[in-house]
Symmetry: C2
Subunit: 199 residues, 2 copies
């Protein structure tokens, strides 16, 4: 495996991935949600789309073997491994300044939307919009009546997900800085996570 | 009630709505999915967002009393009436040319994404992006395991949904032209629908 790259706690990190390479995302401490985006490397207006992916997968959460689609309904990432317990989220928007204002925060709070922009900016890129992310390790159970709740992750330290790139792409991560709701564990202490790009 | 406006079969239609007005959307023939979008009238980059709304409602489908949120997490529409059986969809992307290409269609097929642009263009507006729509009357059941399926509507002829505008907005509808899957009823014959704007 190639070197592990750190997604710093509360921050974003992006990288170029060639078609055929696999990205392993490691939940280093076990309870960290990692918001994940992918963009066509050659056209940032084409990107992984949760609403198109759900239509193609016919599932709320991708499983091993499922392929995520772009907003042009082309394959962009395939989940090839998952040792985390299989609980992820495709339903919730990335957190943003408005989310924390609504939760009563006064002044700046780190957020996944800004982290996407920051991670891509380090590569000299600007996203055209903020797509709804694939929230790895995020635990949003649903009921038969369609009620949703925000719960701590079920993943364990060092567990991981592997995603195979189906096109040349830019992948972006945010180690979610949510420290008010227990979405990153009951202690509400966001941590770093890691990823590696494998041939 | 003010005059009924037609959303032509397979086409889009948009209208300005002032804060406090209510839009009644009528499923005239009972089995027509109506993709629905709403944009801040004064800033089209702020729009009704399904991923932000689910987070705020903590529900997969809005019910009477639920408020849909924008991508800035501000209230934009509140569901005040629903005589259709309460089955709608927030999970699936608007259909688009790529969807029909994937279903084997050769050449042009009407689609909700183009209909959004066409409806807004009649008002002299251009959407900055295609948000994931509120798919009124669309029946996408989920299982406990998160499996999704595309099913015919449960709504009945003349049933309706009422949505109160929480800001000055532009509302856009598409009478979904899907005629390959039975999402608009088992006969796969898309029809017109109607709406009215009430003080």
């Amino acid at each position: 495996m190639s070197d592990l790259v750190t997604i710093p706690a509360r921050r974003g990190k992006a990288a170029f991935v060639a078609a055929g390479q696999t990205v392993r995302v490691v939940n280093t401490h076990g309870e960290q949600v990692v918001d994940t985006w992918a963009f066509n490397r050659h056209d940032l207006t084409e990107f992984m789309s949760m609403e198109h992916s759900r239509s193609g997968m016919r599932r709320l959460i991708p499983r091993i073997g499922d392929t995520l689609l772009t907003n042009h309904r082309r394959p962009i990432l395939t989940m090839t491994e998952d040792t985390s317990g299989g609980i992820h989220d495709t339903l919730m928007a990335a957190c943003d300044r408005y989310r924390y204002e609504g939760l009563g925060v006064v002044g700046h709070h780190d957020n996944c939307t800004d982290n996407l922009a920051q991670g891509l900016a380090e590569l000299g890129l600007v996203p055209a919009e903020t797509p709804s992310p694939l929230n790895l390790f995020m635990n949003i159970p649903w009921t038969g009546q369609g009620e949703l709740s925000f719960e701590p992750p079920v993943s364990t330290p060092g567990s991981h997900v592997s995603l195979r790139a189906e096109m040349d792409l830019v992948i972006a991560f945010s180690a979610c800085p949510q420290d008010i709701l227990p979405i990153n564990g009951r202690t509400c202490r966001p941590t770093e996570a890691h990823f590696a790009i494998m041939a």
